[in-house]
Every structure is written in structure tokens, then in C-alpha cells.
Symmetry: none
Subunit: 196 residues, 4 copies
DNA sequence: TATGAATGAGGCTTCATTCAT
DNA sequence: TATGAATGAAGCCTCATTCAT
């Protein structure tokens, strides 16, 4: 019997699950595959997670939390809307690039009944912060006078397209800097956006 | 026994399959579900399609062909790049809105081994036509002097984001006109894009 | 609709069934295959035969009758046991060679509940005639004094082995003349069996 | 849950499979039947065997190996061709009697695409050894001067007929000693075959 | 008499989950 | 905490058989 601390085992399972879910999608991934990848027995998985759904949800939550921790501070800093927005997009895109496969499942498998609330809630929260930031930018005169709601949606839209394109055509990916420039060009009062 | 012509049954199955695949994804969709939706017996599906994969591939091919027929004429018309591009985006987005769910599978389940070639080929072809159109626009002076490759990617990227957002937040969808304006604003030499 | 006389259709089905059953065995053969081979629709088969089993049994009966018609006259001719036996074996082996595949099913698929009685009855009858013939031969002095029962069994045994070997190693088949000679050598009072 | 060691379960499945395949043939046998016979769940069979074909092939291989182990030493002993041949036939027939049903499938279902090579190879090897033995016997003067190839075929032929007859008419089986005597009588230079 | 679309039981197989060890 | 054999529901698919035409 391979004795390990519980935490270590759980961590192994999580990593294995990310890998396997990412490669196969939720349905096609099997507990056996995850267990094997984690060098644990199938039964072992059930010590740490109630079931497959529970395991998947755990991953999603974790990733959402990670992304939140990464972006919230930036979005909350309303002193420099222009740079904040630039930094926000950069971070989201970097994060997406790192976790692209899981994000695809996360998005695609919205069709599933579970996990939706979690994701929708995050999306809503994120959008609301983005709207606030844009409003701030307009107020401060850094941004042109656009509908903040629509602008936020466009930004999100472009970020999603970026992630998506990354998965669909990984051999010819879009450039994140190009995306950021496009957004800033449309929003900014300044001529163009030289990078900091 | 519910007597119908073969063509009628096949059509019913196709429609049912689109619905079920769209709602559940490829793996989670079952033949039984599709059959039930088509008001046919499970065995009946196999009269018209070799197997589940065959049925799925048929749908994808059909949709790709439809979209191709819709967009090719526009992209090939190089006399008015500005309007052509606008019209192209409009059509793709309209099409996407109509078939959003299936498109999501089509994109997400690229990870599957089958159907990839089909899709990749289409994507490549579409992009190449887009690049040509942009080059033409630059030559004619309608567009600013950008890298046509990158511009094409950005356009595709934005379209994808549009589709994606449509699926993720159907209750608060992005506006296609907004997307189109964003692209044209970035490309066009003209001040803004008043719609025709 | 392909109009034919009923008899013609039935004949076509029978021929097709022999072919398909021979090639695939009872279970693996499908009504659809048989119908296709007979250039008729699957439903058409059921006009002439109650079901698959009924069709199979019909074939078996037919073959048994054919073989019976071929061998009975020979076995019943007790005036020349030696030549009769030789001729009997020759005919059975020829028949077997012509219908080897079907015979194999017929034998192997004894395990099935149906058709057994039919076959067993024939086998019994045939054996009893063979025993009579041998007795006659012993009485007439043509054959040595053996146990007629055992001799009959050996003959049947050898014939079966012949058929079997024909199927198992068709590229290197046993020779029927060799088998016949072996039997006659054991039975006959005469030195060897020169062929008639 | 009925806890057993893996080896025990596998053995149970193998025994059940032999029984069920023997009684029904390959096609008609179902995994469910085998599982039930083995007192295991249908899914349990797949722990030990990849699929039905794999299970069947395993049995065939096992039986071939068993028979090979039983007969090879005898056939290889060329010092006493007469007794060796007698012993060989005795062993094959005994073995056949013990495993008659499976052997019937093994032979009949040659028509299947799988397992053929296995069987053909064994048959070829066995025949070649038999030919060598007969040659030896001719050289040593124990056997009369026959064509070794043909003689080997006749022996195989008779053995097969023996097995076959055993299955077809188990209530009135042929006698193995009779078969052996018949062969030896044909081959031997000695008058008759008194048993050793 | 003939068709062939349709049915649905049933076969093979997978896999989330359980549980004796 | 960990194992992995075992379960059984459920999915895909086949095919004997039926029946409206």
C-alpha cells in the first residue's frame, strides 16, 4: 500500500484530473484514467471526492478562485483605468493560455446542469467590476464616452474569442497584444497605446 | 408503425440530432434521446446513419456547407472590401446565432479525432479568403495599412468571441453591430462606419 | 415490384440461404444477407418461411432427402455388398464434398435445440441399412467376420473424418479413394480393392 | 460483493466459458450466460478478458497447448514408431473425448477470421511430426511402405471422425480401440495389433 | 406477391461507484 | 488511508420480425 499524506494524495488527484479532463472533456474522462494518472487506485479517488461531478466542480471552483485572485486586485484599482484595463486583459489572457483546455470544458460544458451557477456568478461579478472600471475611465477622461455595459461586453467578447482561437488554431494563435491594442484603441482618448 | 417516407425520417433524425447534440454535446447525447426526439425507434436511426459518429459528422458537414454557401460569395466579391467585410461578419454572426449550440460542439469537440480535418480545412479556406479581401482593401485604399494575416485573425477572433458569448450569456448577449463597428473602426480609413 | 412466380422466389431464397448459411453459420447469417443474395426484400422471405429457424430446417430436410435418395438405393441393393459399400461411400463422400459447409453447420449446430430429431433419425436409419448390408456381406462370405455394428460405426466415423478434414484443411484434403480402400481392406476377404 | 482472488475468478470464468461455448457455439454463447455460469457479473468478465473474442481465443490457445504437451513427447519418441503411434492416437482420442464440445467449435468455427492461424499452425506442426514418425517406422521396417503424407492424413482423418462421431452420436459412440486397430492394421507389417 | 421502413429485444461493452480486505 | 475486484446500469448497435403500402 502506497502510504501518503491525505493532502498529498488529494493534490495528486487534482492534478491528474486537470490533465485528464483537459485532454478528454468531462464525459470522456474516466475515473480510472484519472486514478492511473494520479498513481492511485480508482477507489482512492472516492476518499477525497464524493463523485466525478464533485471532483470536476472542485477543479472549476479552484480555477475560478485562482483567476479571481489574479484579476480582482487589478480591476479594483480604479486610479489608473487605462493601465488597469490593459493589465487585466493581459492577466486573463495569460491565465487562459495556461489553462486553455480546462477553460474550454468549463465553457462548453455549461450545457451540463452542474457548475453553471458557479460560473455565471463569477462572470457576472467580473463584468460588474469591469463596468465600474470603464465608468471610472470615462469619468477621469481617459476613455471616450461609450456605453460602459457594451464596452465591457466587447472586452469579454474579445477575450473569449482569444481563448477560443487559441484552442481552435493553436498552430496559428492570435496575439494577445493585438487584442489588447484593439480594445484600447477603441476606448482610449489617447492616440495609440504604447506599451508600458 | 409510424410510416413515413425515408427522406422525411432522415430529416427528422437530423433535426433531432442537432437539437440533442447541441444541448448535451457529443458524448452525453445518446442515440435513444435522438430517436425519441425524432419520434422513431433507436434502431431506426441506424437505417439512415452508420453510427453515432457518422450522424454527427453528417451534421457538421451540412452546417459547414451551409455557412460556406452563405459566406463564400461575399468574401469573393473584392470590388467593395469594406462592405464585403461588413456583410461577411454580419452573415457569419447571424448564422452563428441561429446555430449557436451546434457550433459550440463543432469547436469544442475539435479535440475528437474525427471531423477535425473537415473543420480545419474550412477554417483555413475561410481565413485565406479573408486575407485576400483585406489585401484588396489595403490596395484600394479603403483599409489602413495593417498586417492582413493579423487582421484576419483578429476578425475571426472577434467573431468567435461573439458566438461564444452568445452561448455563455444568452440573457445578455453581445451586439453583432458593435462587433462589426469595432473591426471596421480599426481597419477603415474612413472616420466611422455608418451603416447602410 | 419484381414480379415472379412464388415458386421461383422460394427457390431463389433457398439457394441464397444455402450459400449464406454455409459461409457464415446459422447465427451469423442474417435474413437481410439471405434476402439480398436472393434479390428479394427481407420481408419477402417471410412469405415463404415462418422464420429463420423454419428456413434453416427446410434446407436441412432437403439436403437429408437428397442424400437419402442418393444412398438408399445403393444400400438397399444387397446382392453385391462389396461394390455396394464402395459405391455408398463414394456417393456420400462426393455429396459431402459438394455440400461440405452446410454439413458442417448441420453437424456443429446440433447443439441447437431444433433439427436434432430430423438428423438423428436419418443417421439411425442410415446406420441400420449399413449394418444390414454388412451382415449380408458376412453371410455371403465377401466380408470377414466382424461385428456389423462396430464396422458400420467405423465406416461412418471415417466418412465423417473425411468431411471434417475437407473443411479443416481444404488445401491438403484427404483422398476419398484412400478412405474407401482403408475400409474395404479391413472388411474384405479379398486381398485388396482394385477399383471397378 | 462476492470476494475472490483474481486468479480464482479468472479460472471460474474460463470454466464457465468452456461450458457455455461448448454448448452453444461461439456466436450463440453470450457473455451474460458465461458470467452467470461463473457466478460473476457481466462486467466482471471484462476485468480478465478484453472481449468475447479474446476470451474464446484464450480457451483455444489453452486447449491447444494442453494437447500439444500431451502428444508432442509421444510423437517425438522415434525409437518405437508402432507403440508411439498407438499411444499418440490413444492420447488424442482420450483428450478429444474429454474436451469434445470445445473441439467441435474449434474446428467448426475455423470459418471465423480469428484463431485460424493458431489452429492451422498446430495442425501443420502435428501433421509434420506424424509424417516423421511414419517415415521412421517405414525405415525401421515396422510399417509397410506407404506414402507417409497420405498415411498421416488418414490417421488425422480417422481421429477427426472419431471426435465428430462422439459429438453426433454420444449415446452410441465409436470405440477408440477399434479406430486404433484399424490404422495399425493398415500400417503395420505385423499380423494384427495385440495391445501392449 | 412484394417492399422496405420501422420496431424493440437483446447482445457486447464501458465505467462510476462500492466494499471486503 | 488505500486497494482493486466486483457490480450493474446504461450506452451503442444488430437483426429477426412486422406491417402499411
Amino acid at each position: 500500500m502506497n502510504r501518503r499524506s491525505g493532502i498529498e494524495s488529494k493534490r495528486k488527484i487534482i492534478e491528474a484530473a486537470i490533465k485528464v479532463f483537459s485532454e478528454c472533456g468531462y464525459r470522456a474522462a474516466t475515473i480510472r484514467m484519472i486514478a492511473k494518472e494520479a498513481k492511485i487506485s480508482p477507489g482512492g479517488v472516492y476518499i477525497y471526492f464524493k463523485n466525478k461531478e464533485d471532483l470536476y466542480l472542485f477543479l472549476v471552483k479552484e480555477k475560478i478562485r485562482e483567476l479571481d485572485e489574479l484579476t480582482s486586485p487589478v480591476l479594483k484599482d480604479k486610479s489608473h483605468p487605462y493601465s488597469a484595463l490593459k493589465e487585466y486583459m493581459r492577466r486573463v489572457m495569460d491565465f487562459a493560455r495556461m489553462h486553455k483546455e480546462l477553460i474550454m470544458i468549463h465553457s462548453r460544458e455549461l450545457g451540463f446542469s452542474f457548475g453553471i451557477d458557479l460560473k455565471r456568478e463569477f462572470i457576472k461579478k467580473e463584468k460588474s467590476m469591469l463596468v465600474d472600471l470603464i465608468k471610472e475611465g470615462i469619468k477621469s477622461g481617459e476613455f471616450v464616452d461609450v456605453d460602459p455595459e457594451e464596452a465591457a461586453k466587447m472586452i469579454t467578447c474579445l477575450i473569449r474569442g482569444y481563448v477560443f482561437s487559441f484552442v481552435v488554431t493553436p498552430e496559428d494563435p492570435p496575439k494577445s497584444e493585438e487584442c489588447i491594442r484593439m480594445v484600447l484603441r477603441g476606448l482610449s482618448r489617447k492616440k495609440e497605446g504604447g506599451d508600458g
